[in-house]
């Protein structure tokens, strides 16, 4: 019972904040709703027994990436009014098309979705961090190293793009 309530409340919050991100007039408000959305997704990860991912989501995504977005929005927003929609009807037409697609997909899931039996018993909970560590450093070592090179390249790229001409 508690599980059901938790899921529906979290789902409502996540989708509500996401809708607010997409439709807010002021860019700063969009960024704040994005932070709230990410925090709710982190709570969802805790419900799904992925505690390490939840903390990483808050630390990296909500606490790092969105701060970057907030800085850029504040730098860019200083002397401009809120943006004007170029075609006011576009949102309505697109929204209708998207919601039809969502309804079709959910209908397909409901009609054709076959519920597999529940998987094995829960082994992820206690040793979550240790299991992720073992997998990252033994089976997935090469993607790990490639990801670190990707981050290095991105860091250099961001510095080169954003620095002023000295």
């Amino acid at each position: 019972m508690a599980e059901v309530i938790t899921f529906y409340v979290l789902a409502a919050l996540i989708l509500g904040f996401a809708a607010l991100v997409v439709t807010a007039r002021s860019a700063v408000h969009s960024v704040l709703f994005l932070v709230a959305d990410f925090l709710c997704v982190a709570v969802l990860y805790v419900v799904l027994q992925a505690q390490f991912l939840a903390v990483i989501q808050v630390l990296v995504y909500a606490g790092g990436i969105v701060v970057l977005y907030l800085f850029v929005v504040m730098l860019v927003n200083l002397k401009r009014p809120a943006e004007a929609y170029s075609d006011p009807n576009r949102l309505g037409r697109l929204g209708l098309a998207m919601s039809l697609a969502v309804v079709a997909e959910l209908g397909a899931i409901a009609a054709y979705g076959w519920v597999k039996p529940d998987g094995p018993a829960s082994t992820l909970d206690a040793a979550n961090v240790e299991q992720i560590g073992m997998a990252l450093y033994t089976d997935y070592l090469i993607p790990f190293e490639v990801a670190s090179i990707l981050l290095l390249v991105a860091m250099i790229g961001a510095i080169v793009l954003a620095k002023r001409e000295m």
Partner: protein, 100 residues
């Protein structure tokens, strides 16, 4: 009872909200933020499956997705800043360099 279908439906709905954001908004920063929403939807999907099958690989993949999202956000925002210095706009309708 919360089955796997619930998590997949949530992930699909979040993904569609992200797509609507990318296709509708004119402010390029909001477009990038909608892309982050899409990446989050993918992450929810991965972790829901990892939870169902009790396999840690889903969470490992989600870590890599977060890592790539960070890199993409940094470089994307750097590009936006560089463009803003030249043309003083973040409206993508005005960012069509071919017509300069």
């Amino acid at each position: 009872m919360i089955t796997q279908t619930h998590y997949l439906a949530l992930s699909a709905a979040l993904f569609f909200l992200g797509v609507i954001g990318v296709l509708t908004r004119r402010n390029i920063i909001i477009i990038l933020m909608s892309m982050e929403l899409m990446l989050n939807a993918v992450n929810i999907n991965l972790i829901a499956f990892s939870h169902q099958w009790q396999n840690i690989v889903g969470q490992v993949f989600a870590v890599f997705v977060i890592c790539v999202a960070a890199a993409e956000a940094a470089v994307g925002l750097g590009i936006i800043l560089a463009f803003y210095r030249n043309k003083e706009t973040v409206n993508i309708d005005e960012m069509s360099l071919m017509r300069w």
